[in-house]
Amino acid sequence: MRALASLFCGFMFGWGLFISGMIRPDKVLGFLDVLAIPSGNWDPSLAVVMAAALAVTGVGYALARRRTPLFESQNQWPTQTAIDRPLIAGSVLFGVGWGLVGLCPGPALENLATLSPGVIIFVIAMAVGMIAFHLWEVRSAAPAGRLWRPRPRPPRTAKARI
C-alpha cells in the first residue's frame, strides 16, 4: 500500500510540475532571469507555483502534525535545524547548477519521459554527484573537530526483524 500511495503522490507531483510549466527548463530560467524585469520579459510564474504549493503544504502539514499517517506508524519530520557550512555551501553549489541549465532534481527526473539525450546526461551526472557526495561523506566520517557530521545511520543487526 505504501508503494501504491507513493506512486499516486509522485504522479500528482509530476502533473503539478507539468501543468505549472516547471517541467520546462526555459520557463524556470525565465523566472531566474531577474535582469529581464526592466524589459518586461521576466516570467514570475515560478513564484506563483511556490506560493500556491507553500499555502497548501503549510495548511496540510499543520493538520498532519496531530495525526499519524495511514500506512506508517508515525510521521518522519526532518530533525536537522542547524544553519551550518554544509547547508550554505550545498545550496550555493545546487543554485549554480540549477542556474546553468534550469533543471532541479524533480523536473530533471520527470523529463526522462521525453528521452531527451541532454536530460539523460544531466540525470546521470546528478546521480554521480550524489554518489560522489556519499563516498566523500563516508570517507570523512569519524574524525573529531569537524564542523559537521553525517547523519547517524541506524545500526544494522542481523536478527532485527523476526
Binding site: G10, L17, M50, Y61, R67, L109, E110
Partner: protein
C-alpha cells in the same frame, strides 16, 4: 511579462502541495525529490519500494499527459555537453550536501517555516539568479 502564466502556475503549485501533504498523511514522509532519489541510488539504501514508485509516478505524469492529447515539450538544454554534465554534478552534490532541493527545502521545509530550509531556499535562488544574470547578460550577451 508576456510569458507569465499565473493560473496554470497556481493550479500546478497547488497539486504539488497536495502531493506533499498526501505523502505525509499516507506514508509519513517528506516529498523531497533529492532525498527520495538519493535513497534509491546510494548504497545502504533503505525503503526502496516507495521511493521507486514515487519516481515512476513522476515520470508517468507527462506520459499520461501526452496520451490524453497534451503536448509535452522537448526540454531546451544547452548545447554544451560540458555545461550539462557540470550542472548535473553540481546539482547532485550540492543537494546532498545541503540535504534538499527545490521540493525538500523550497516547499516542504519552508512550509514548516524551518529557518534552515528558508535559508537554503534563499541561497540557491540567489545563486541561480546570479548565474543566469552572468550567462545571459554578461557572457552570452
Amino acid at each position: 511579462m508576456a510569458n507569465f502564466t499565473p493560473i496554470s502556475a497556481a493550479i500546478g503549485g497547488a497539486l504539488i502541495g497536495l502531493s506533499a501533504v498526501l505523502l505525509m498523511r499516507l506514508n509519513g514522509r517528506i516529498a523531497g525529490i533529492t532525498g527520495i532519489f538519493a535513497g534509491l541510488i546510494e548504497p545502504q539504501s533503505t525503503e526502496w519500494a516507495w521511493r521507486a514508485t514515487f519516481i515512476v509516478g513522476l515520470v508517468a505524469a507527462p506520459l499520461s499527459a501526452a496520451l490524453i492529447g497534451y503536448t509535452v515539450p522537448v526540454p531546451q538544454m544547452p548545447p554544451s555537453l560540458a555545461i550539462i554534465t557540470a550542472a548535473g554534478l553540481l546539482v547532485g552534490f550540492g543537494t546532498r550536501l545541503s540535504n534538499g532541493c527545490t521540493s525538500g527545502h523550497g516547499i516542504c521545509g519552508s512550509a514548516r517555516l524551518s529557518p534552515r530550509s528558508i535559508t537554503a531556499t534563499g541561497i540557491f535562488m540567489v545563486a541561480a539568479m546570479i548565474v543566469v544574470a552572468l550567462t545571459r547578460h554578461v557572457v552570452g550577451g
